[in-house]
């Protein structure tokens, strides 16, 4: 939980026709994101720990607090598998 996720700057998150896609320009891999995943991506600046990201989102969306930790961990795992972030 103390590890700090940092974005791989070669990856881009862009919106097109209602879809949010995280992609590397030189690769065929894509991550389809929802709004929560997009927020998590924005927060992966290398200064916040995983727990801090969870706490931040839970404070912003108290009605979803119970599932936030699972969402954050699942999303970060997906990002890491694609090489989009590094957990430092």
């Amino acid at each position: 939980m103390e590890r700090k996720p940092k974005r791989n700057l070669e990856y881009r998150l862009e919106e097109i026709d209602g879809e949010l896609l995280l992609f590397h320009p030189g690769d065929t891999k894509m991550v389809y994101c929802n709004q929560t995943a997009s927020l998590i991506w924005q927060l992966c600046d290398g200064t916040r720990s995983v727990q801090q990201i969870i706490d931040l989102l839970a404070a912003a969306y108290p009605e979803a607090a119970e599932s936030i930790a699972e969402d954050v961990n699942g999303t970060l795992q997906q990002f890491e598998q694609h090489g989009a972030i590094q957990l430092q």
Binding site: E10, R12, I16, E19, L21, F23, P25, T28, M30
Partner: protein, 361 residues
């Protein structure tokens, strides 16, 4: 309806009026949506197909839609990077007094298509005089991201291939110095995307010749054709119908008009082009769009399941469409000589070459 046939409805630069209605109707019968993104990408049509389907109000199933959108984003980024590289290279050449002619997709992306991202491409193709080749190459090596490891080695008979790495992308540049039969006259200016640079491409006549020749050249016993090339040629003829010297083209290069008339069966030509070019369309050849499906394009091992009679048929008796396109014949031209003599002799020639190479080893 198979995926190729469905994609052919999208293989045009503009898809309005009756063409849009035809596409919408075809979409109602089309069921192989899961194959569409991959096939569209193979034919360099993914962005254009999505663009036309969306404009026609077609509901694309979610998985296919997401895959197409992913492809579009990649092509959008690639187009931005390529436009920047092209602008820098053209600008450097102009400053050095080198006349560079931008060819094919690299020019059409800005000159013909509504957005550069709608015209994907593998390489940037440019043409310089033989005497300017070394200097042009030197200028390329000075661009940001030039990678000497991307130089293609070997005898450079017609072009030199170099590359850059820029913004996560590999940009390949082919500097041509021999384009047999194509004239460097009356170059047409065009803006390179949003770079502010004005580059030049072939004249209207020569561009159409080049596009039709390119498609016919790739309809050979080793390769397959791409629908984007049909979109290029038909779209170019449509857009610049008033600027093309059709009578001069008919005199100098009747095979260009033969290929154009064949493409009508793949993606219909507008009346203005048929009339302006004086095309006599006639009967469609059999198996429109069917690429060469025999040896040597497909190895004998890869075709084993077809059985020998079918392999022989596909190799020695290709589709009427392919014969017409490969030999640049009009659809009214008698095919007897090509079907029974010229093509079998060509296959015999390739067989002889293969045996010779094996003996030499």
């Amino acid at each position: 309806m198979n995926t190729y046939s469905f994609l052919s409805y999208c293989a045009r630069v503009t898809c309005e009026g009756q063409h849009r209605r035809r596409l919408a109707n075809a979409a109602q019968q089309f069921t192989n949506w899961e194959t569409l993104p991959e096939q569209a990408e193979f034919h360099n049509l993914a962005p254009l197909a999505y663009h036309h389907l969306k404009a026609a109000g077609v509901e694309i199933p979610p998985d296919a839609k997401r895959s197409l959108l992913a492809l579009i984003l990649r092509h959008r980024h690639a187009a931005q990077v390529r436009q920047a590289v092209l602008g820098e290279f053209v600008s450097a050449c102009q400053a050095a007094g080198i006349q560079v002619i931008v060819l094919k997709g690299a020019a059409l992306a800005s000159l013909l298509y509504p957005e550069p991202e709608l015209r994907p491409m593998r390489d940037l193709d440019v043409w310089v005089e033989r005497a300017d080749l070394e200097e042009a190459h030197r200028l390329l090596t000075r661009l940001e991201g030039y990678d000497p490891h991307l130089e293609k080695e070997g005898p450079h008979v017609k072009h030199l291939m170099s590359g850059l790495r820029r913004d996560g992308l590999h940009v390949s540049v082919e500097i041509h110095f021999r384009l047999p039969g194509i004239r460097r006259e009356k170059p047409v200016p065009f803006p390179v995307g949003t770079t502010g640079i004005v580059a030049h491409t072939l004249s209207y006549d020569e561009m159409l010749r080049h596009l039709c020749t390119h498609m016919a050249h790739h309809a050979n016993v080793f390769e397959t054709t791409r629908l984007i090339w049909a979109a290029d040629a038909v779209g170019f003829a449509e857009r610049f119908v008033e600027r093309i010297d059709w009578a001069g083209l008919r005199k100098r290069s009747p095979e260009t008009l033969n290929v154009l008339s064949l493409l009508h069966f793949l993606t219909p030509l507008p009346e203005a082009v048929i009339e302006g070019a004086g095309l006599k369309i006639g009967r469609a050849p059999r198996d429109v769009g069917a690429d060469f499906a025999g040896w040597p394009r497909l190895s004998l091992a890869a075709q084993r399941q077809k059985g020998l009679p079918r392999i022989l048929r596909d190799t020695l008796f290709p589709s009427e469409w392919w014969l017409c396109l490969h030999y640049e014949l009009s659809c009214q031209h008698p095919l007897f000589w090509y079907r029974w003599v010229r093509h079998p002799l060509a296959i015999a020639g390739w067989t002889g070459r293969l045996i010779h190479d094996k003996i030499k080893k």
